[in-house]
């Protein structure tokens, strides 16, 4: 696996430019993922890779296409110092793992080998030997994740038909 590291304010226009939003097919989205911040990303990313960002990751648009395109690339999770609100909701809703940990985001370097235990919220940088604890999700959010996503959890409760 490999780590892709970016800075603060990685916005939804660089994650998936609007000119590509009229084809929501996951493969199409994956082929343009991160293209305006890193032209080589889509052609070099492999399943199991991890993205590390700074503050306010995913800021800007509400487009669910943003976490969808990252997920469609097979990225295992995004670790960031903080997440923009709508991106955070969207990632949870589509079952894509995100982990908020300012220290990990600052210290992990591109090229490090990193493993994560999403359930426990633990990040291990095997290259540096450091371990980090990500901010836990509220129980309610764990409920959404455990049920396989927002719509499934609403169906399970009988609220959505």
């Amino acid at each position: 696996m490999k780590v892709y590291k970016y800075g603060d304010n990685v916005d939804t226009d660089v994650i998936i430019p609007a000119r590509h939003l009229n084809n929501p097919d996951p493969k199409a989205l994956a082929s343009h993922c991160m293209e305006d911040i890193d032209a080589s990303f889509a052609s070099t990313v492999e399943p199991g890779d991890i993205i590390v960002g700074g503050a306010n990751f995913g800021c800007g648009s509400s487009r669910e296409h943003a976490p969808l395109s990252i997920k469609a690339c097979g990225v295992k999770c995004v670790i960031a110092a903080s997440f923009a609100r709508i991106f955070y909701r969207n990632a949870i809703n589509i079952g894509f793992p995100i982990m908020e940990c300012p220290q990990a985001a600052a210290e992990i370097q591109a090229g490090d080998q990193v493993s994560v235990d999403f359930q426990a919220g633990i990040i291990v940088d095997e290259t540096s030997g450091r371990q980090y604890q990500a901010a836990p999700f509220p129980a309610f959010v764990n409920g959404i994740i455990d049920n396989g996503g927002l719509l499934k959890s609403l169906k399970a409760r009988g609220v959505a038909k």
């Binding site: 304010n9 916005d11 226009d13 660089v14 430019p17 609007a18 000119r19 939003l21 009229n22 084809n23 929501p24 305006d36 911040i37 503050a55 306010n56 800021c59 800007g60 648009s61 509400s62 487009r63 669910e64 296409h65 969808l68 903080s82 923009a84 609100r85 709508i86 909701r89 969207n90 809703n93 589509i94 509220p138 309610f140 996503g149 927002l150 719509l151 499934k152 609403l154 169906k155 609220v159 959505a160 038909k161």
Partner: protein, 421 residues
């Protein structure tokens, strides 16, 4: 401990006497909104989950505004999908080409937002309706599908930043300058997860269009929502548009805020945001003379009648500079008709500007004014991230309609105060 305007509205919609910041609640929705980019993803998820019922056909709005009139086959297929869903469920508020407008200008115009209501929309600028004293926030497509199915959504109750407005705006300074100034002050994540609660004596002299502009860009500071108190101007706007009962809220005197930002409107100068963040602000004088190739006047931020009047005042009897493409987008059909009646469209065309049917168009680099390599636009839209309106080497400067119009005449960033004397 008292509650903010936002907290009061959320408490009421969750059936609770009170809520506090950080609390997770499930709230009843008054409106669920989507467009031609976000509704199709919601519809696909809705169908994939095997859902067959919506909560209320009168409380869902689907507006085809981003890629319409359809710019290519893909966009046309997405619009078909939205159209079919609207027909399947007899969605009352479905707006197609010919009736549609830019969603955040159309919704208030059609009386679909009222004080005290809770509105979610699959578009980040849904925060616009906070101008009317509603709690209104952007969400993704799955949240839209869930909202359509259940009429409920989960929220984490936000803490708040108090924005106190004093004084009065000087000539050629408007709501856009207020908001760019605020975002420049607190940063693009300065209000992350929070509500921006506007108040103070300065509110009374802001027009409704100014307030829509300000609330529209709450997301650009990372806010969950922006919200204004309801006053006589709000009531005058709602009169004739909203017939259902509504209830305004006021913040408690002992409501708690994370911080207060005071803005003296009298001291504000025309303000722009340079590439590539809405917070990269300068006064217009600091960057006057910067060359531009395109001017965009319109959008959910500044495509309303007041915005067009401000631009027309400056373009009247003048010409768009050689080498500059100026494109004007009245945000709804009604605004187009009103602008025509006032002679504004003539002014734009005689000045050498192109005038378009309502569409989001170039705001997100979709169509109707995409930039080429190395070009720079000055635009009344709300975002100037890398690659937003063209290739990664293109640039966007955000500005008010007055600054954009003055810049169109000058062929470079210009202060309307200098042009108009």
């Amino acid at each position: 401990m008292g509650m903010t305007m936002t907290q009061k509205i959320l408490a009421k919609h969750a059936g609770l006497d009170r809520v506090e910041a950080g609390q997770l609640i499930e709230g009843r929705l008054d409106l669920v909104l989507g467009n031609d980019i976000t509704a199709p993803v919601a519809i696909t998820e809705f169908d994939k989950a095997g859902l067959t019922e919506i909560f209320d056909k009168d409380k869902i709005a689907i507006i085809l505004d981003h890629s319409t009139p359809c710019k290519d086959i893909q966009s046309a297929r997405l619009c078909s999908q939205a159209r079919d869903f609207a027909k399947r469920f007899s969605i009352t508020n479905f707006y197609d080409v010919g009736q549609m407008g830019v969603e955040h200008a159309l919704i208030p115009e059609k009386g679909l937002a009222a004080p005290g209501e809770v509105i979610i929309g699959a578009d980040s600028h849904t925060c616009t309706y906070g101008a009317l004293g509603a709690f209104s926030t952007g969400v993704g497509s799955t949240d839209m599908a869930a909202g359509m199915a259940t009429g409920l959504s989960w929220f984490k109750v936000p803490s708040a930043i108090k924005v106190t407005l004093k004084g009065e705006l000087q000539p050629y300074v408007s709501g856009k300058d207020v908001m760019l100034h605020l975002i420049g002050t607190i940063g693009v994540d300065g209000a992350l997860y929070k509500s921006l609660e506007f108040g103070g004596e300065g509110v009374a002299q802001l027009t409704m269009d100014d307030r829509f502009t300000i609330a529209n860009m709450a997301i650009e500071a990372g806010a969950k929502n922006g919200i204004f108190p309801v006053d006589d101007k709000t009531r005058a706007y709602l009169d004739g548009r909203v017939t259902r009962a509504w209830e305004a809220v006021e913040p408690d005197a002992d409501a708690v805020y994370d911080r207060e930002v005071v803005i003296d409107l009298s001291a504000l100068k025309p303000t722009v945001a340079l590439p590539h963040l809405p917070s990269n602000t300068r006064t217009v004088d600091e960057v006057a003379g910067t060359p531009i190739q395109q001017v965009v006047i319109g959008s959910c931020t500044n495509g309303r009648l007041d915005d067009l009047r401000r631009a027309a005042e400056i373009l009247k009897g003048r010409k768009v500079a050689p080498g500059v493409r100026c494109i004007v987008f009245p945000a709804t059909q009604q605004i187009m008709l009103d602008a025509m009646a006032e002679g504004l469209i003539n002014i734009f065309i005689e000045a050498g500007a192109a005038v378009s049917t309502p569409t989001c168009g170039p705001c997100l680099g979709g169509h109707m004014g995409v930039l080429s390599d190395g070009e720079r636009a000055i635009s009344t839209t709300n975002r100037n991230f890398v690659g937003r309106m063209g290739p990664v080497s293109s640039e966007i400067i955000l500005a008010s309609p007055a600054v954009a119009a003055a810049s169109a005449v000058a062929g470079c960033v210009a202060n309307p105060q200098s042009l108009m004397g």
